[in-house]
Structure formats: structure tokens, C-alpha cells
Amino acid sequence: MESFNSVFERFGGINLLPAILALIAFVLIGSPSTWVTLTVAGLAMGMMIFLMASGLSLVFGLMDVLNFGHSAFVSFGAFIAASVLAALAAWVAADSVILNLAALFLAIAAAALFGLIAGWAFEKVIIKPVYRDHLRQILITMGALIVAEQIILAIWGGSPISVPRPHFLSGSLIIGDVSIELYRLFAFALGLVAYVALYVILNRTRVGLLVRAGVENREMVEALGFRIDRLFVGVFVLGSALAAIGGAMWAGYETLITAAIGSEMMIIVFIVIIIGGLGSIEGSLLGALMVGLMGNYVAFLAPKMALASNMILMMAILLWRPYGLRPAVK
């Protein structure tokens, strides 16, 4: 008799987990329209978390660097995007989709640009002196996160900031009795584009080949004649920019943000990269989708368990697969 594992692998293996989770939720929720709304919200949330988590996963996999300051890029991305959208309020509120898109593009671009520049500086000043020293990495990056939050408080103040959504994304798509927020569809689409771009870079380019090899064995990559430390700077900068974009999108999702947005997301981001397996983009996507779906389903079914649900999910997956769902190194 064919074992359960081989049947499971033949039908898609662990890639099926989000679908299985959605199926179980469908049975428990009962109402198809509610289920669709929650599923779309979960997928959108998952894609935004993926944006924040993918860079951190690669950074950890490639250089074994624990960067708790990663969420500072999420926070700054959110606040910078909110400021750009506020400054372009007329474009944001206009009936023109082109003006709406231009405002949104500029907000995301400003967040990404900040991530690129600040990521480069952060790696040079904060990370580089503490390579290969986990304790100092944790201390210094946690310190940097606290400093970043204080800078945000100094610039934007302590009151929650309202984030305007572009007019064309402020409505919902109504299909029968199912209502789907357009912003969630947009967030899902943007995350999907980012995933495909990362997948192509990692699997179809020489730089991607080096990153994948470096995640497995950076010493051997150097012995083949490549400077892994220079490659790492590029990955760190890209990861920081993705985190800032994720923060920008999350700001629009939440519509009201505080300086703690990054540190609140950090726990979720760490859960995602641990569930997914370190150094793996595919793992980060799987983990992010499961966390997004689980968070939304449980918040509906058992609101008091919402915070604990993802921790329980992480523990269950680690008991099953101690290195995560799809680790880069087996």
C-alpha cells in the first residue's frame, strides 16, 4: 500500500498546505461568502508579510545574520509612504486612476528608495562589524530598532497617523453576496509580482545562482572565486527595500499606523521565516500565506485565540519538520 507521504507528495506535497488550511476553514466557517472574504484577506495579508519576510530569510540564510532591526525598514516604509500619500492627497482622492496610481507608485517608490539607501548604510555601520557574532548581532540590531522607533516618534509624533487609500482602491468588488476589498486584491497582486521577480532572479540569473549557492555553503562559493560579502550587501539592500515596500503596503491595509508597526510585525515575520525554512523564498511564501490565512480564519472563529494561533501553527510545523517547510539547506 502506498504510504501517505508518497500520495501527499504526488499531489503537491507541502505546497498544498495553504489549500488544506483553507478547506478546513471552509468546513468550520460554513458561510461561503464569509470564507471568500476571509481567504482573500488572508492571502493579501500573507503576500504583504512575504514582502517583509523574504529579504530577512535570505539575509539569515546567506550570512547567518540575525537582524532584529529588519522591522525598522517596515516602520519607515509605512511612515514614508503615508507621508507621500498625504502630500499627494489631491492625486489620492482624484477620480483619475492614473493620478491614483501615480500617487501610489511614488509612495511605494519612496519607501523602496529609503530601504535601498538606509539598508546599505545599516549593513555598513551596524551589521558588518558584528558578522559571525550572534549575541552582538541581536543586541546591536535590537538597539538599532529602538533608535529607529524613537526617530519615527521624533519625526511623526506619537499619535496614530491616518493613511489615505487611493480612490480607485478604496472600494470593494461585489460578486453575489461576496465583498472583496480592492486594496487586498492589489496587495495580493503586488506580492505575487514581487515573488515572481525574486523567483526569476534567483533561478534564472547568475547572481541568483550565487545567492542560492551561498545560502548553502558560503565558504565554497568564496573558494570558487566569488566575494560573498559583496553579494550579501546586495541581498541586504534588496531585503531592506522589500521590507519597506511591505511596510508601505501594510500601512494602506491598516489605514492607521503607529511607530510600533514594525516591531508588531517582527514577531509575525520571524514566525514566517521559521515556518518556511531559512534562506528559502518558496518557504517564505508558503509560511506567509499560511500565517495570513490562519490569522484571519482564527480571528473570525475564535477571536481570543488569534494571537496564539500562529505560534501554535509554528510549533506544529516545527514538530513535523524541524527545519521548516522548505529550508534552503537540507
Binding site: 555553503n217 568564496e222 573558494a223 570558487l224 572565486g225
Partner: protein
Amino acid sequence: MTDPILELAGVSTDIAQYHILHDVSLSVPEGGVHVLLGRNGAGKTTTLRTIMGLWQARAGAIRFRGDDIAALHTSDIARKGIAFVPENMGIFGGLTVEENMRLATHDGSFDRDRLGRIYALFPALETFWTKSAWSLSGGQKQMLAIARAIIEKRDLILIDEPTKGLAPAIILSMVDAFREIARETTILLVEQNFLFAKSLGQTVAVIDDGRIAHTGTMAELVEDAALQTRLLSLSLDAHQ
């Protein structure tokens, strides 16, 4: 004897608080296979890793074609034409065989004639070309590690215990492959398997407790059972 391609002069290496290599001096002539023998923990792997810059020498000079490379970054040492096949083979299991090989080329493209010669040496690589390196057997992984080192012409290849854990039949095929490779490249081979080493080596150095205990030709060592016993604590007969 030709000019040495590689020279170690008074090299000492520490790992954390441990002194592993003590004043190691070694000369590797250009061309052929040259063997560094020694027991477990004698300092063989440390010697190769120090040459590659993976561990920094505390003292001494490492000269490759006359240039001191002791302070260079590992990647710069590799670009000078030195390839390294580590004891654990250094295979990227998540990459395909092709990707492993492509990574070892300077621009990502293959010289088809050279690739054909590698297929002739290691036919399994052509069979598993598009498969994940994780799916290879131990012997096939070792073939891939060696093939990766010769996918472009290198001046010197450092190979750390290639026979470890391999079946005798595979070790025999390795002997033929190494002879072929040594026609165009110098090989510094670290080994514990004396039978394998003696079938290939032209010169031999024996390292013990981080110090060079003997240097000479392989023929001298093979003919002198007393010397083998003294240096390796094993007689050649014991391996046969």
C-alpha cells in the same frame, strides 16, 4: 625537478586558542600529483584551508608562483588559478549538477570540448546533469566536486581526502581520473589512504602533530617499510 608552483615557508596556523600548524614548510613542484599524508588530526586539512585563505596563517609565507598569497582573500586566491575540493566535497545540494558546474566557470559558459572530456572521465555527471545534486550518491558527489574543480583550466588543485567513505571500485576509477587530470594540472592531494596515494603521488610529505615530519619522493617511501612504519605507524603490507 621543476620550480615549485606552491611553497609554504614557516607557516603556523591557530584555530581559536589551539595551535594547529607549527612552522610548516612545504614545496610543491609544478606538474603531477603530490601527496600530503598524515593521520587524523595531524593538520592536513588545516594546511589546505590555510593555503586557500579559509583560515589565516598566524606566521609564515605562502607563495604561489612566487607571489605571497597568505594575506589574500579566498576568492582572490581562487582567481589566481587554485581550485579546492574540500573533505565534505562542498557540493551545493539544492542546485542541479549543471548549476554546480556552471558556478565554477568564470562567466557561466562551458567549453564544450572540455565538458566532453569531463563526461568521459565521469559519465554519471552527464546522466544526472539536470538532477539535483542531493540525489547523487557519495561517489557521484565526489566526481562532481572534482569535475567542478577542472571545468576550467586551473594551475593547482587542492584535494582533501577524496577517497573517504567511497567504495573500492569508485576509488579505482578515481585513480584513472586523477592521472588524466594531472596531465595538465598540478594536484596537491591530502590522503590517509596510502594505497591510493602511492599509486598516484610523485612526491610525498608527511605531517604529524602540525609539523612536517618527512618530505621526499613517493618511490622512496614505498620502498622503505621501516620509514612507513615510523612515519605513518602503519606498514604498506597492512593495507594489502
